[in-house]
Structures are given as structure tokens and as C-alpha cells.
């Protein structure tokens, strides 16, 4: 029996067997190019359109508003660069939170190097944006506001709906990266007042290599991948049919039991948080309540992330220090810096992200293994000078 525990669902998820099963015929029998006019092509096209309908309906959108991409990174780049290029004549100012994924931050930096002006909003110590700050940042030349729906590292949910209303009033495009939340929390494009929304399949038990951008009808967004006339001329390249089929099925499955699953994950999450935060020198990062159902992000004083992760891996627990995308980096995460976590505390951060197949037994085991690992690491480094704990960080451990 496999006793290993995978709690890195924020990085990627195992593909649901039902998703794999749905994908397989599109490799073996219905392998056509969706642009071909014969039956193979039509079958592929019909399958792509079925997925488009499922995903549109999950978001409260219409199918024509869904553009399939190679993943959330492309969708984020598409939203930011596409909105900026298409509306350049109207203005060159953009607003974003500082805790966005790098797939949003990097294109913003690129635009800054091309003379665009970007306002990065302040966030509170939970990583939340205050809509009043958005209101204050809006200028006549603002063309895009990008604030993520749920943070990938600390799980904090942002007040996207309120910000979206401000954007709507100002006639400004609103983008949200909902990669971590689609299929886990209600994500409705009208309720959120968003014009652009990025998503990914592999965070929701679908395949890697496929994502989508919701583009509200009438929004002015330039395409970024040119070539053939695929995706209504918005994204060139032969459609990744099996992955798109898998994406649709993954979202359908997630939507079927979304509320029950969210309740279950919140319960597991809160058990884990309550059990671990009481450890000496432990701090919870992110909002205690307004957070993703499966997300636990904790910093442990006197232990460093990489040692904790390696020790956990040795014990059969797969976790992460934050975003998988920057796991090779020794710099403190930009999210932890933005919430004002001192670097010496940030250095001991781990993220445990629960998912569909985690159980109460997994949580029991984590509540045994994690404290042991932390204690052993601290014991091993005992004798070395203790690091001073700043006052603010010490207060955080109270929750």
C-alpha cells in the first residue's frame, strides 16, 4: 500500500482517472485535427466545443468567450499583454496586486520596460488588497486592473467582485487569475464583474499543457500567438484536442461536487492549521478564513524550508515551500515579502495543499510527522546562535 501523502495540489494534481479515460479515445480513435473538414476533424471539433460549453457554463459565460491556451501562464500573458497592446491608444497605465503569480508580474514588467506605467497596490498582512486603494489608483489612462482570485502561495482570497465593480464603473478591463480557485470555489464572471479570467486544467485534476482565458464579449484584447485561424482567430495552433477534452471533464467533475468538496477540504485544512500553528514558533500565513479550502501555509522559526521539505519527502510527504514555479530560487517569495514577513521567518515556510484524495488519516499522519521533522531540524541546528524574532512576527503566531 502506498502510504505516501501528496499535499502539493497547489503545484499540480494527479489526473482524475475519469479524465484520463475520457482523453484516451482522442489519442487512439478520434485523433483528427480539429481544423480538418472530414469526419475525423469534425469529431475533434465537436469534442473541443463540448469542453468549451462545459467550461463556459462553469463560469457563467458563453462558449464563444472561452479561448483555449497551452496553460495558465499563456492565459495570463495573453490577458495582460493582449489588453495592453489593444488599448494602448486609450492609455498606458495598469494596476495590479504585488502578490500576483509571476505569469502576471513578468508581462507587467515587460510592459514597464516598454514605457507602460504599472501601479502595484498595497496588501495587508494577509495579502489582501483594499478596494479603496484600487479606487485611489485608477487614472483616466488606466486600461487594465489585474487582481488574482486566490493566491497560490498563501491561499488568501481577494475581493475581486468589489474591484471588478470599480473597474466596470471606470470602463477599465478587469482580469483575474483564477487558476487556483476554478472548480473549487464559485467563480462566476458576472458576479465577479471580470472581463478576463485565466484558468488551468492541471490544478483541478485535469492534464498539464492546457488552460483557457475567458474573454468577455466585446472586450478589446489583442492575440499574442499568431498563425492559423484557430480559436476564432484568437489563438493560433492546432488544438490540443485530448487535453481540451480532459480539461472539460475535469471541470465537470469538479463542479458536480464543488460545495461538498470545499466543505470537506476546509475541515481538513482547519484541523491541520489548528494542530500545527500551536507549535512553538509557528506562524500561519494568509487570511485565516478568507482562504482557499485546501491551503495551509506556515512558517517555522529556526528551520529552513528546504530542509523541512527534504525531511518530509523522506517521510513520504510531498509538500512545497510556496510556489513550485520558483522552488529552485533561494530568494524569499515575493508574496511573503509583500505581506511583510521578515526574511528569517519566510525562510522557514512550507505550503501544504490538500486535495481530492487526502483523508483525515493523512491529516493525522501530517500532525505527527510535521512536528517531528521541525523538532529534529531544530535540535540538529541547536548550538548555532538563535535568530532574533521580530516583534511583529511574534504577534502573528497568535492566530
Amino acid at each position: 500500500m502506498d502510504t505516501r501523502i501528496y499535499v502539493d495540489h497547489g503545484a499540480t494534481t494527479p489526473t482524475d482517472p475519469r479524465v484520463v479515460e475520457a482523453m484516451l479515445p482522442f489519442f487512439t480513435e478520434q485523433f483528427g485535427n480539429a481544423s480538418s473538414i472530414h469526419q475525423f476533424g469534425q469529431d475533434a471539433r465537436a469534442a473541443v466545443d463540448r469542453s468549451r460549453e462545459v467550461i463556459a457554463s462553469a463560469l457563467g459565460a458563453s462558449p464563444a468567450e472561452i479561448v483555449f491556451t497551452s496553460g495558465a501562464t499563456e492565459a495570463d500573458n495573453f490577458a495582460v499583454l493582449g489588453a495592453a497592446w489593444a488599448n494602448e491608444a486609450r492609455g498606458r497605465h495598469l494596476i495590479a496586486s504585488p502578490v500576483e503569480h509571476h505569469a502576471v508580474l513578468e508581462p507587467l514588467r515587460f510592459l514597464q520596460s516598454r514605457g507602460f506605467d504599472v501601479t502595484y497596490l498595497p496588501v495587508d498582512r494577509d495579502g489582501r488588497v483594499d478596494p479603496d486603494d484600487v479606487r485611489a489608483a485608477i487614472r483616466p489612462d488606466t486600461v487594465l486592473i489585474s487582481v488574482m482570485h486566490a493566491n497560490n502561495e498563501i491561499g488568501t482570497l481577494e475581493p475581486v467582485a468589489e474591484i471588478g465593480r470599480l473597474a466596470r464603473e471606470g470602463g477599465i478591463l478587469m482580469h483575474t487569475d483564477a487558476t487556483q480557485s476554478v472548480g473549487l470555489l464559485p467563480v462566476h464572471v458576472d458576479a465577479l464583474s471580470v472581463d478576463l479570467l485565466s484558468m488551468s486544467a492541471h490544478k483541478r485534476y485535469g492534464p498539464k499543457g492546457v488552460g483557457a482565458l475567458y474573454v468577455r464579449k466585446g472586450s478589446n484584447v489583442a492575440r499574442i500567438q499568431h498563425g492559423g485561424s484557430h480559436e476564432r482567430n484568437r489563438r493560433a495552433g492546432t488544438e490540443n484536442v485530448p487535453a481540451i477534452v480532459g480539461f472539460g471533464v475535469a471541470i465537470r467533475i469538479a463542479m458536480e461536487c464543488m460545495h461538498e468538496e470545499a466543505v470537506r477540504l476546509r475541515r481538513l485544512r482547519d484541523r491541520l492549521i489548528q494542530g500545527l500553528v500551536r507549535l512553538d514558533g509557528a506562524h500561519l500565513n494568509g487570511h485565516p478564513v478568507e482562504r482557499l479550502p485546501g491551503n495551509v501555509n506556515l512558517s517555522f522559526e529556526g528551520a529552513d524550508s528546504e530542509s523541512i521539505l527534504l525531511a518530509l519527502d523522506f517521510q513520504g510527504v510531498a509538500a512545497s515551500s510556496g510556489s513550485a514555479c520558483t522552488s529552485g530560487s533561494l530568494e524569499p517569495s515575493h508574496v511573503l515579502s509583500a505581506i511583510g514577513l521578515p526574511p528569517e521567518i519566510a525562510a522557514g515556510t512550507i505550503r501544504l495543499t490538500l486535495g481530492r484524495w487526502n483523508t483525515d488519516e493523512d491529516v493525522d499522519q501530517l500532525l505527527t510527522v510535521v512536528p517531528e521533522v521541525i523538532e529534529n531540524l531544530r535540535a540538529a541546528s541547536a548550538g548555532r546562535p538563535r535568530r532574533a524574532v521580530p516583534q511583529r512576527a511574534a504577534q502573528r503566531s497568535g492566530r
Binding site: L24, I37, H38, G41, H101, K208, C325, T326
Partner: protein, 384 residues
């Protein structure tokens, strides 16, 4: 009976490929950037695939970047170089795939100058044409190895020599080859030939859709077209499509295993099909008899509409195409067929038959027989 002769549009994934993809979906599902064992297992699949793809080109694994497909590989090569702005001139041909043409047309609408070289009636350019078109500020020559509609091969080695000579004289010129239709069909040796960038796609070689690769010669820098992570040396960020990449690696291993026998077998079938098409009256075969890849036969059946013929053949279980799948819903005739001198009517009376490693002589004979009857039948309906 089902005879699939549209392998230039896409191919049936090989069972071994499907197995690799499935394993990466279900067992090795980790994010390669993760530090734990699941991440490591996924990373190993990527390393293995990179090695397999590199071997088919005779290049080093670290010079192969994975993309979301041939379109992105072409786009990254062109826009990645334009982004570094070391010159303002591009050279290409009139018969490139739209994933090369459209990005170049977009650049031409900005401050860039693009020279499109005309082709002969086989769809071929001569290296001398490239030589004449080169300017001191030419940043890139982009020429496909094998045309997707005709199967025509371009003189890549000769063009590469011309580009290298030009570069030796102090120009920043690099050479990009779209090898999407060439991979697995003709030998490709970018390093030996001095090609700087080469695009590949998985789903044309019995690999999965949604994955491709770009060979980048060491020392060649590209401006990333997406931002957001350090994957693929920062040139192509985003969580790696591990199942797709694993499948691409499996496809690369398969095509390398019996490359010469497969190419020879396909060539024999191509000749067999060509002979039988030639026997049909009033036909023009657009694929050149010499210097074509072994998998394509493109032919014009005068006074028959290509699309009608396609659907008639489909009723007989034979699946072909009217040209590039990417434009199949576009009523304007193929730019490639017009470039080789066909008039609009002939261009719209044209079909492409494309073979694969799985095509059999029996299938060729049956398809040719269905074709012969369909053409005769449709022509009989036409009032003279």
C-alpha cells in the same frame, strides 16, 4: 474500411506514445519544479524526452526547448529574434506555413522589412535567391524544410551555407527552419548544417498534440514571448506539459528506431500512389517527382471541386485534405498553390494525400481506386 491519408494534418498517436502520456498523467503527475520525489520523477521524464528529441537531430539535449507546438516554436523563433532588434530585415518564402507567415506579416506592418522569395512551379527556392535578398541588417532567414501542402523539400544545407557566409561578413543573420513536416521523414542535422533554429511538432509524428520543440543553437539568444517562470531556461515559462513532453520523447525514439526503413517504405507507397493518380485523365501532380518528402502527394483534378471530391472520398472511407488543415474553413484558395502558378479554379480542384508509417500498399490501392471512380463520377455530373 477507413483509410486515413491526412497525416500531414495530424497523425494517429502511436500506442507506445499513448502509454507514455497515460503514465505521466496517472503516475508521474508531479510538477517538475517541485523539490519532492513526485517532482523529480516528472523532471526525469522531461530529461529523457529532451535527450530523445536531441538524438534525432544530432544535437545536445540542452539546446532543445519544449513549446506548446509547432506554431509556438515558429512564433518564438521569429518574434524572439525580432524582440532583440539586432536588425530590421527578414527573408522568407511565399510558401511558408501561416505560423511563420503571419508573425512576419505582423512585423512587416510595424517597422520591419520582410522579403518573401517567390518559388518555382515545384514550390522550391534556390539558395542564390536568398543570397541576393540578404542585407547587412538581415536578422533572420526563415525557410521550411518540407512544404506542408506539396511535400517539396527546400535546399536547406545550401541556404545555410549562404547564411553562414553572410554572417562571416559581419551581419547578424541567423537561419530558422520550420521542420514540422520534415521531422521523421527526411534526415535533419541542424548542427552539421549550421542551422540556428529548428521547429518541430509532436502530433505530425504520432506524438501528442499540444507539444513541440525548438532547437536553439548554443549562443543564440531569444527574447521570451511569455513571462512567468524559469522553466525551459526562462525562454518558455509555464508548468511543463509533462505528459505531452513524455509522449513527444516516445515519438522521437520511435521515429529514430527505424527511420530509414520507414522513409523507404513510405517513398515506395508515395510512388505507388503517384503512378495511380497519374493514370487518371486531366490531372496535374503538384508534388515534384524529385526532392519531395516521402509522405505527400498533392494533385489537381481538373473540373472537380476539391471539397466535393474530399467528401465523396470520405463516403468511401478515405480521409484526405484540400491543403493545409489550418485554413480548411477558409474559402480563399491556398497561397501555396497560387505561388506555384495554379489559377484559382485549379487551386480549388486540388487534394493532398499524406501517408504515415502505418499506411499499407493495400490502402494505397484501395484509395486510388476510390479516387479514380469518384473523379469519373463527379466529372460525369459536370455539364460540359
Amino acid at each position: 474500411m477507413e483509410i486515413y491519408l491526412d497525416n500531414a494534418a495530424t497523425t494517429r498517436p502511436h500506442p507506445v506514445v499513448v502509454e507514455s502520456v497515460t503514465r505521466a498523467l496517472t503516475v508521474d503527475y508531479g510538477n517538475p519544479s517541485s523539490l519532492h520525489g513526485k517532482g523529480l520523477a516528472a523532471e526525469r521524464l522531461i530529461v529523457g524526452a529532451r535527450d530523445a528529441v536531441a538524438r534525432t537531430l544530432g544535437v545536445e539535449p540542452e539546446d532543445v526547448l519544449f513549446t506548446s507546438g509547432g506554431t509556438e516554436a515558429n512564433s518564438l523563433a521569429i518574434r524572439g529574434l525580432a524582440g532583440l532588434a539586432r536588425g530590421r530585415h527578414f527573408v522568407t518564402t511565399t510558401v511558408e506555413h501561416s505560423s511563420v507567415r503571419v508573425p512576419l506579416q505582423r512585423l512587416a506592418a510595424q517597422e520591419w522589412v520582410v522579403t518573401e522569395l517567390p518559388v518555382d512551379h515545384h514550390g522550391r527556392i534556390a539558395a542564390a535567391q536568398v543570397e541576393l535578398a540578404l542585407r547587412p541588417d538581415t536578422v533572420l532567414v526563415s525557410v521550411m524544410a518540407v512544404n506542408n501542402e506539396l511535400g517539396t523539400m527546400q535546399p536547406i544545407e545550401e541556404i545555410s551555407r549562404v547564411v553562414q557566409r553572410h554572417r562571416a561578413a559581419g551581419s547578424p543573420t541567423l537561419f530558422h527552419v520550420d521542420a514540422v513536416q520534415a521531422w521523421g521523414k527526411i534526415p535533419l542535422r541542424p548542427m552539421t548544417w549550421g542551422v540556428d533554429l529548428m521547429s518541430l511538432s509532436g502530433h505530425k509524428v504520432h506524438g501528442p498534440k499540444g507539444v513541440g520543440a525548438l532547437y536553439v543553437r548554443p549562443g543564440v539568444r531569444l527574447a521570451p514571448q511569455l513571462g512567468g517562470g524559469e522553466q525551459e531556461r526562462g525562454v518558455r515559462p509555464g508548468t511543463e506539459n509533462v505528459p505531452g513532453i513524455a509522449g513527444l520523447g516516445a515519438a522521437a525514439r520511435l521515429l529514430a528506431a527505424d527511420f530509414e526503413e520507414t522513409a523507404a517504405r513510405m517513398r515506395a507507397l508515395q510512388d505507388r500512389l503517384r503512378e495511380q493518380i497519374r493514370a487518371i485523365p486531366d490531372v496535374r501532380i503538384n508534388t515534384p517527382p524529385d526532392g519531395a518528402a516521402p509522405h505527400v502527394v498533392n494533385a489537381t483534378f481538373r473540373s472537380v471541386r476539391g471539397e466535393t471530391l474530399l467528401h465523396r472520398l470520405e463516403q468511401e472511407g478515405v480521409f484526405v485534405s484540400t491543403g493545409s488543415a489550418c485554413h480548411s474553413h477558409n474559402p480563399t484558395p491556398s497561397h501555396v498553390l497560387l505561388a506555384i502558378g495554379l489559377n484559382t479554379t485549379d487551386a480549388q480542384s486540388t487534394l493532398r494525400f499524406s501517408l504515415s508509417r502505418f499506411t499499407t500498399p493495400e490502402e494505397i490501392d484501395a484509395a486510388a481506386s476510390a479516387l479514380r471512380h469518384a473523379v469519373a463520377e463527379l466529372r460525369a455530373l459536370v455539364v460540359p
